[in-house]
């Protein structure tokens, strides 16, 4: 159906709302990356199968809906029963029959599947909005994730989707749109935090045709998955943002660059584009306004550097993704040397809401210089891993402890890594810092795209720096030597420290080298490449010195500096014997096992599988 007027959209929205409402009870099954890894696709088919066999009054097979990431991945697979918002956690295929028979038929709540308050095990919470993880969030870019079926454009429209587009195309001039976006204070969510309004306005002014709009869905930052969840769970919000942008800057062609490691994101974006074309939200004469726009999906090739703007544009053109020097910015000469607006997935997903509710509303959220909300993916050594969105300006402590629940029992918090390979690690005493673009940069980390990885006392900060340097060496495109050679040498020196072979002079050398790399590199990859090293050295210098002077790894990670021994707690369960890759452990059932130090490679597999804390690290 072609939607060419606000009235038709309104009618479609009403119909869609009614249709959704008619099936009063709904079973939402999260197919986000976390729940999927827990087998939630099987839950979906099982629910459908059971409901086909057993008729439940008022609940049809269509009431079972797949939704994108709901956020609370740590408790996945998640099943939510609407309209009561009953929140079932860690659901297995075997639970499905029970849920149908008890909850759907009798309205009975199954206690054992509910979320339990970690401080008070008797306290179970059924309604997810009461759970601290959700209660402390405010969702704008993730507004529909976990709420709608990404494959159904009706669902998106029922939530008010495409109404911002309708308003823009029928009642606003491009200049007014640019003005609204500028006034909202929206800054790019992809890492740099550049003003979106200013970027668009610059592009609109360039006297060259055609102009292009590109969405950066490369999300190369390891440990970040916000963009994946948006593209998979609410693809239309990204499209709507792009179409609005295209109208504002006067572009007729768009690309979405999705990394190939996200096959489902590619599929869902593609399906969304087709559905949008069918309804004429993409195509010719959109909303009868005379404005044409269409979008193509481009799959990335699995190179981190292709997230960088100029490299991405090379890649879109079918070439090797090597960045170029930016004497001329890509808004002036971007893809195919034409003016190009490149924004991140989350940036685009936020745009429709701004135009819907107004720039005043948006800029009232967050801080003065970083307005709105930001999505973060919380991972690592934290209890409540998952996807969260909070107003800018809340503290790291709010996110990690109030929402994230802190580090798992028995461990202590050590650092939080933000900004991926371009960011840094911040220690405990920086936890009360407000999370916004500028505060994090000031202390040597950065907001980045929103990956937030919590580390505990069993994480070695030197090894973390080595890990990131290794990542960057692998991913450096090799075009400029400060990055290609500099990072490589930095990695060698860092490895030397982890092996206990370095001296303090090496640290000085590394600091000097870092400066050279920062100043001399061509693109952001090299310029910010030394950050993980510099920030860990700034905040955890004593850990570096322990490796260098005492030849010790306090976290017990660096293989050359530790030894594993079996203590008296050993029950002789043979678990470690089975798992030892070098057959260094011997022993019989129910007898104390023996570890042969000559064969041991200090991999730590034995410690990982031991249930009795019988492996010590010295």
């Amino acid at each position: 159906m072609v939607i060419d007027s606000i009235d038709k959209l309104k009618k479609m929205q009403d119909d869609a709302c009614q249709k959704l409402d008619r099936q009063k009870k709904k079973v939402l099954i999260c197919l986000g990356p976390g729940c999927l890894a827990g087998g939630s696709d099987q839950l979906l088919s099982e629910f459908r199968k059971v409901l086909k066999q057993k008729k439940v009054k008022g609940v049809t097979v269509e009431a079972v809906k797949q939704v994108g990431c709901h956020g609370f991945c740590a408790r996945g697979p998640l099943v939510i029963i609407e309209p009561e918002r009953i929140f079932y956690t860690k659901v297995k295929k075997a639970h499905v029959k029970d849920i149908v028979a008890k909850t759907l038929v009798n309205g009975e709540i199954i206690e054992k599947l509910l979320y339990t308050d970690p401080d008070d095990h008797a306290k179970k919470m059924a309604d997810y909005q009461e759970i601290p993880f959700y209660k402390n969030q405010q969702r704008i870019s993730l507004r529909n994730c976990g709420q709608i079926d990404p494959d159904r454009i009706d669902d998106y429209i029922a939530m008010g989707g495409y109404s911002a587009l309708g308003k823009v195309l029928t009642r606003m001039k491009p200049a007014k749109v640019l003005d609204e976006v500028s006034k909202s204070g929206l800054r790019g969510r992809g890492g740099g935090g550049f003003s979106t309004g200013r970027k668009w306005a610059t592009c609109a002014k360039i006297d060259d045709e055609p102009r292009y709009v590109i969405c950066n869905g490369d999300e190369g930052d390891p440990g970040a998955f916000m963009d994946r969840c948006i593209m998979e769970g609410d693809p239309h919000s990204v499209l709507e943002g792009m179409i609005i942008c295209a109208f504002a800057v006067g572009s007729n062609y768009g690309y979405i660059y999705v990394r190939e490691e996200y096959p489902l994101a590619v599929i869902n974006m593609q399906k969304a584009i087709e559905a949008a074309r069918e309804h004429n939200f993409l195509g010719k004469n959109i909303f009868n306004s005379g404005f044409d726009f269409d979008v193509l999906v481009i799959r990335g090739g699995g190179a981190f550097v292709c997230g960088e703007s100029s490299a991405l544009m090379k890649s879109v053109a079918g070439e090797v993704g090597e960045p170029r020097a930016k004497y001329i910015r890509s808004v002036v000469k971007g893809v195919f040397d034409k003016p190009t607006v490149l924004n991140n997935v989350e940036t685009f997903a936020t745009v429709p809401v701004i135009l819907d509710k107004g720039s005043k509303w948006f800029s009232s959220i967050g801080t003065k210089k970083s307005t709105g909300t930001k999505a973060f993916s919380l991972a690592g050594k934290v209890k409540n891993t998952g996807l969260v969105e909070v107003p800018m300006g809340v503290t790291l402590r709010d996110i990690i402890f109030d929402i994230g629940g802190g580090v798992p029992e028995g461990r202590t918090f050590k650092a939080v890594q933000t900004g991926g390979p371009s960011g840094g690690c911040l220690p405990e005493d920086k936890l009360d810092l407000p999370v916004d673009f500028d505060s994090l940069t000031e202390v040597g980390s950065m907001m980045g795209s929103g990956g937030m990885i919590v580390m505990d006392d069993r994480t070695c900060m030197v090894e973390v720096a080595r890990y990131f340097l290794h990542f960057l060496v692998e991913e450096s495109c090799g075009k400029c030597s400060p990055c290609r050679e500099g990072l490589y040498q930095l990695l060698n020196l860092c490895t030397k420290i982890t092996e206990g072979k370095a001296t303090e002079a090496d640290l000085d050398l590394m600091e000097q080298l870092s400066k050279t790399i920062q100043i001399g590199s061509l693109c952001g990859l090299g310029q910010s490449g030394p950050n993980p090293f510099i920030s860990t050295l700034t905040y955890f210098r004593e850990e570096y010195l322990a490796h260098i002077n005492d030849k010790k790894c306090p976290a017990g990670i660096c293989r050359s500096l530790i030894k594993f021994v079996i203590n008296d707690e050993c029950t002789g369960c043979m678990a470690c014997i089975k798992v030892c890759p070098t057959e260094a452990i011997t022993g019989e059932k129910k007898k104390l096992h023996v570890l042969n130090q000559d064969l041991c490679t200090q991999c730590g597999s034995c410690e990982a599988v031991c249930n009795f804390e019988a492996i010590d690290i010295i």
Partner: protein, 152 residues
């Protein structure tokens, strides 16, 4: 190349535009169909798209998505993203390498298994993550890795 393979290849060229811009997409389609980039397919791509073979080679070695060597039936990928790394992804690598007697990046001689590492697959909340062909496994303790991989 066998006739069947040639037909597959022709289909790929038919559904994509024939210009240099389509290079990456075409290579991705070839990789998907053959699980690697056969030499003949690369020179055919060069011819069809009007790109020098050197450029085709350069693109296929630049992007991690491409492999120049045949890969196994079961592709075992271990996530090496930050979250997985600090949650002990290396231990999975160790187990798999020992059990299958292969190093990361290698394929068994019977073309059954390939072990690869990837930089984050976006399931970080379930770290460490093991992907066997298209199936994701989350929170994998190292002693379960081999079993999951062999199940296919």
């Amino acid at each position: 190349m066998t006739t069947a393979e040639k037909t597959k290849l022709k289909k790929i060229f038919d559904r994509n535009p024939k210009n240099p811009q389509a290079l990456i997409t075409v290579l991705q389609d070839i990789q998907k169909e053959f699980r690697y980039l056969p030499c003949d397919a690369m020179s055919e791509a060069a011819k069809q798209l009007g790109v020098p073979l050197s450029k085709v080679f350069s693109a296929s070695t630049f992007y991690n998505a491409f492999s120049l060597k045949p890969r196994g039936e079961t592709i075992i990928r271990i996530c090496q993203g930050t979250a997985c790394h600090i949650n002990g992804a290396d231990l999975m690598v160790e187990q798999l390498e020992t059990e299958l007697n292969l190093k990361v990046g290698e394929t068994s001689t019977d073309l059954k298994f390939t072990i690869e590492v990837v930089n984050c697959v976006g399931a970080c909340a379930m770290a460490p993550v093991l992907i066997v062909n298209e199936t994701y496994h989350g929170n994998v303790r190292c002693d379960r890795a081999v079993g999951l991989a062999k199940k296919g």
